[in-house]
Symmetry: C2
Subunit: 173 residues, 2 copies
């Protein structure tokens, strides 16, 4: 029963919990949020989830357009680490959402809407990545974590991250 993280104030559910020992002092410091609020939090995560993949595709397509001049689905497949068939299907979805445009058997382009999403996404990605590095996270890890985290940072958090990176920068130069 090793909990070297007592400082967090929330002591995990390690003990069996006879009903008569629901200690008030614990509940107070450490109560669950009201159900509906709790539900809203999870809903937010689920909804972020839905757009995550789409954003990743759009961001990648934008990167390919910028760096290679064109975005072919074979490259998308290779970089996403999925099959071409999967790319085809996802692209169909992106098209139906009017984020991507393309003619059959031709390479991919972003619509206005897609460009806007890519720009947002790219910006967030950059902010999170820069922040993690400013924090002291290694380059390799920062890249992986940023990929996952970028979709879950709210504007407020992004602003704070950006400020932090800037201050760090100023301090160290």
């Amino acid at each position: 029963m090793l909990l070297p993280y007592e400082q967090i104030g929330y002591i995990g559910a390690m003990t069996d919990f006879p009903n008569d020992v629901t200690p008030d002092r614990l509940c107070k410091a450490d109560a669950l949020p009201p159900s509906d609020q709790h539900a809203r939090q999870y809903a937010a995560v689920r909804s972020a989830h839905e757009t995550e993949l789409l954003e990743d595709y759009v961001e990648l397509i934008a990167d390919l357009l910028q760096h290679q001049g064109e975005a072919r689905s074979t490259d998308v497949a290779a970089r996403m680490g999925v099959s071409q068939a999967t790319v085809s299907k996802t692209v169909a979805r992106l098209k139906s959402l009017e984020l991507v445009s393309s003619k059959p058997y031709r390479s991919l382009f972003l619509t206005e809407k897609g460009e806007a999403m890519a720009a947002m996404s790219h910006q967030r990605h950059a902010i999170v990545l820069k922040f993690l590095r400013a924090l002291g996270v290694s380059d390799h890890t920062a890249r992986i974590d940023a990929e996952g985290m970028e979709h879950h940072a709210s504007q407020e958090t992004l602003d704070i991250m950006q400020r932090f990176s800037r201050e760090q920068e100023r301090g160290s130069s």
Copy 2:
């Protein structure tokens, strides 16, 4: 095949990036990583994804056990913001993974394995939440963002976050 950037480490898109300043000179500094590495990053995100929901359920069940003495699926449903049928199905999966145990129509318990997962998950959650607050993020936002981010923070990042929170604490007291 082509990738002239193969030797360049991925620098990422680091600048703040006013939209009208997507300059060519940036492109150099801003190469794509090699395909296979890129693919591995996305694979990592996908794999984190797979366990996310399971961890959230397990964590919630642990919380309910601790705070209410029992974990009923109706409460899980209310707090997750999903239907009871969904909980039933997910719990079936958790049982098949030996994370949860329960008898039909009775409340839920964690197995050893489930407890271990809950403890880990809880710890990470707490670290991320505390970190965000130490950074200056509001309580409300910190809760939402922590829920989403906790699954994407590697051990290295968690360690750094924890250190940061501790220093912050020491500094302000």
